[in-house]
């Protein structure tokens, strides 16, 4: 079992320009902006579960990304 990040679409405000998780995720090409749904999306196989995205998203009070176990 390992932890990966998952975006809660209803809470994500990427449509208003938020890119915090995309910007601070240490891994490249791992959180992308879904141009159709207008939300951030995690490419799971590349996620190392470091939780930095959760830290920056919750610090901005969006709480739109969480760690889930697979």
């Amino acid at each position: 079992m390992y932890a990966v990040a998952e975006v809660i679409d209803d809470l994500c405000v990427a449509n208003k320009g938020c890119r915090l998780c995309i910007m601070y995720c240490p891994e490249a090409n791992t959180i992308l902006f879904d141009k159709e749904k207008k939300v951030a999306v995690v490419v799971e196989p590349r996620c190392k579960g470091c939780e930095l995205c959760v830290v920056v998203c919750s610090a901005a009070k969006h709480n739109a990304i969480e760690l889930v176990h697979r």
């Binding site: 995309i22 910007m23 240490p26 891994e27 902006f33 141009k35 470091c50 939780e51 930095l52 920056v56």
Partner: protein, 296 residues
Amino acid sequence: MSKEKIKINQEFYDIMPLEYRELVEEGTYGKENRGWKDVGESKELIEEHSLCAGCPESIAFRYVLACLPAPEDTIMVGSTGCTSLVFPHVAVHNIHSLFGNQNAVASGLKRALSFRFPDKIKDVVVLAGDGATVDIGLDMTLQSWFRQEKFTTICFDNELYANTGGQSSGLMQKGFVAKMAPAGKKFDKVPLPEIAKSSGCHYVVKMTVSKPNRVEKAIREAILVAREIGPTYIQLYTPCILEIGKQMMEGLQEMRDSEGPNKRFEFEEYVSDEARAYLDTVNPKKKKRKKAIVTK
């Protein structure tokens, strides 16, 4: 060079790995005004390396690669250390040099490129850890600056030898105790930005990588100045969370805590008169916009 060089022969298109196809279709080679804002919306030129989860070196790599002004005409020179684990996953030409030799290799490379392609811009960018830049490679680092070699040196300063388990480096803080430096560092952090200034660098910046827009400006300007004027040096704090006992999500906070007023990574910039005059010619629009905002 343009994207033409990496274009896939149609016959083989369907058997090429998805990642390669994405690079060809969505990579930002040849794009004007590349920058950190491209991340998340176009293919980044780095992917799936083995650095620790949460390592700030990974964030720094993302920003540096997103901000190279012309990645298709850039050759990076790396050295041994955690950074060398990443270069095989970087979609920009790069050379791995013997530990410490990076600035010597880059000097020869830059000269050969200028000779071979006299009418083209070819950027050479060294990217190495602090052990490689300041201890074992200090001779090569300084000699390249004295000789006014036209390339940029970027040091990922994590204040110790991370890849070999945490020995002390010249850039470690005085008194710091690490796993393999139990007696504590005996002397002050080597003031390499100061030394760079007095050794002939025309553009020197010391900063953390907590603010991508600032990293973008520094990387872009350092590379432009190196093209036209002479050597440039960027020192980025990329804390080794593993060796300083931080959790994997604490790297960003560690950088923020270290860049406040009078902290050792407070933003510092030096631009020589020559470099300033040159930058004013390439950034005229930006300057005007800034002035307009101030007068509002």
